[in-house]
């Protein structure tokens, strides 16, 4: 599948922002001053919002994007949009309450937390619900998205704590390490298990000609590449997949963990760890698309 930069940016940034918001609403990041509320609020909402806005850049008609909020009963893409809008509004209210010193009841915090993770889940289900892409249509796909939101969000929370000059306990730094390790552990399992997933079909079942013998594409419908091949048959990154995976793990997991081990209190080091994690996640999301093959390629290549 062709990776669209806007989609990679969207899933990475809004995933990080939602993960950060999840830890904030359960009180992991105490916001003592009004400046802290504004600063953290702006950063969190900007991450989620920038991701959402960038997701409209790949559309043929971005000005109609509001229509995407209407089909939540059947479409995961629509659900994602609706949930994201609710969460953004809820978070804006949450930060406004923090600014005015109002105590947010526990049930409201928990409700917001649930909605935040439902949004991440909905993002993952846009892909995980597509039966046409065997690698995505796997129960571990949503787990990867949820784990990376939680792990990246905690890393960002720790960086914020350091920036605000608040203490980072050893337990918190260790939790950051454990969560980051678990997230990449799930991702490694996904690369292995979902990577082995194959479509039940073949070019024989795709053409209904299997009972006559073996089927092999002889002539494509047109002399030049078409939209389907361009969009679903993307191959550039596949041959570099192993190298890119090492980049993803190195930047997205290993470097942040090293920072958490050696300099868990340094705002500069943690800021670097967040940037490194984001860079690693860009590579991870690029591979998520570039390594996935669509079942329609059976018609063009005889294999999927």
């Amino acid at each position: 599948m062709r990776p669209a930069w806007s989609i990679i940016f969207f899933t990475t940034m809004s995933g990080l922002g939602l993960g950060l918001a999840g830890w904030i609403v359960i009180g992991l990041l105490p916001l003592m001053t009004q400046q802290a509320v504004i600063g953290v609020g702006v950063v969190t909402l900007a991450l989620i919002g920038a991701g959402l806005i960038s997701s409209t850049f790949h559309l043929g008609h971005p000005e109609r994007a509001w229509r995407a909020l209407s089909q939540w009963r059947s479409s995961w893409l629509s659900r994602e949009g609706v949930l994201a809008v609710i969460v953004m509004a809820g978070l804006a209210g949450w930060f406004a309450a923090g600014y005015s010193g109002t105590i947010v009841p526990v049930w409201a915090n928990l409700l917001l937390l649930v909605l935040i993770y439902l949004t991440v889940y909905a993002t993952s289900m846009i892909y995980a619900s597509l039966k046409t892409v065997a690698r995505w249509y796997h129960p571990l796909t949503p787990v990867c998205y949820l784990m990376f939101a939680a792990a990246g969000g905690l890393l960002a929370t720790l960086a914020m704590l350091a920036l605000l000059g608040l203490p980072i306990t050893a337990a918190l730094a260790q939790a950051g390490i454990v969560l980051m390790l678990s997230a990449w552990g799930v991702k490694l399992a996904w690369w292995r298990l979902a990577g082995m997933a194959r479509h039940a079909g073949s070019v024989e079942s795709a053409t209904g000609l299997g009972h006559l013998g073996t089927v092999k594409p002889l002539m494509p419908p047109h002399t030049e590449e078409n939209y389907l091949q361009h969009e679903m048959g993307f191959v550039v990154a596949r041959k570099h997949a192993d190298k890119l995976r090492i980049f993803a793990i190195g930047l997205g997991g290993v470097l942040p963990i090293i920072v958490l081990l050696v300099a868990p209190a340094s705002a500069a080091a943690l800021g670097f760890a967040v940037l490194s994690h984001v860079a690693g996640m860009f590579v991870e999301r690029w591979l998520f698309f570039a390594e996935a093959k669509h079942v329609v390629t059976l018609y063009y290549e005889g294999a999927a």
């Binding site: 599948m1 790949h58 559309l59 043929g60 008609h61 971005p62 109609r64 994007a65 229509r67 995407a68 909020l69 209407s70 089909q71 009963r73 059947s74 479409s75 995961w76 893409l77 629509s78 949009g81 846009i126 619900s129 597509l130 039966k131 046409t132 892409v133 479509h199 039940a200 079909g201 070019v203 079942s205 795709a206 053409t207 209904g208 000609l209 009972h211 006559l212 013998g213 073996t214 089927v215 092999k216 594409p217 002889l218 002539m219 494509p220 419908p221 047109h222 030049e224 590449e225 078409n226 939209y227 389907l228 361009h230 969009e231 679903m232 669509h294 079942v295 329609v296 018609y299 063009y300």
Partner: protein, 251 residues
Amino acid sequence: MTMLPEPSAIKLGLVIDLDICVGCQACVVNCKEWNTAGYGAPLADEDAYGAAPMGAWLNRVHAYEVSEGAGEAQISRTVHFPKSCLHCEEAPCVTVCPTGASFKRAEDGIVLVNEDWCIGCGLCAWSCPYGARELDPAEGVMKKCTLCVDRIYNDKLQEEDRQPACVRTCPTNARHFGDLGDPNSEVSLMVAARGGVDLMPEQDTRPVNKYLPPRSRRAAEEAPVSLVAMAEAETPKGFWKWVDTALERMG
């Protein structure tokens, strides 16, 4: 509204006879011709006269080599394979649509796109296993086979023209249009007689369109016909033998 409607009694669709199709591409061209005019955005082409033309088409004809046996004994044949929207009963392209632009008609099961609502996100094309949807490169909206909904119900056309353009134009009569929900319709009888198949049944999309597989190659199985024997004249008998001999004698 992208929830699928209750299954309709009338299921309009195509039956494509792979035994007859010769891959002439007439259906491809007439489809583009009809659907680039009339309703909605025209079917655009980019770099149409350049080195790498690319455009939106609603119907494409592949060709496959189907082989039996191996080595010297291998028998191969070419099967031309037209492919367009199958108007699935469980159409994944409809339910994934976030805007309600992609929908299945409750009255006859035709799957359509409302181009005024389509945001061009491309998710429906990703969800379709058959590659039946293509994003228009100029207009940024999703294009797909409409089963020529603007022909089949169009009483301004002659009755024989109220068929999809691809069916009307097929010079070999390999394409048929009808109601596959009616077990006694011509198309349904054809499917029953010839063992019509669904494409990729494992995707659980329940396509309405059916494909009639090529018939077995009977000629290859029977003993070869002797052309020499066919060329030899039969020896006349009785009266005609006498006429024949009499004429011979006359020199």
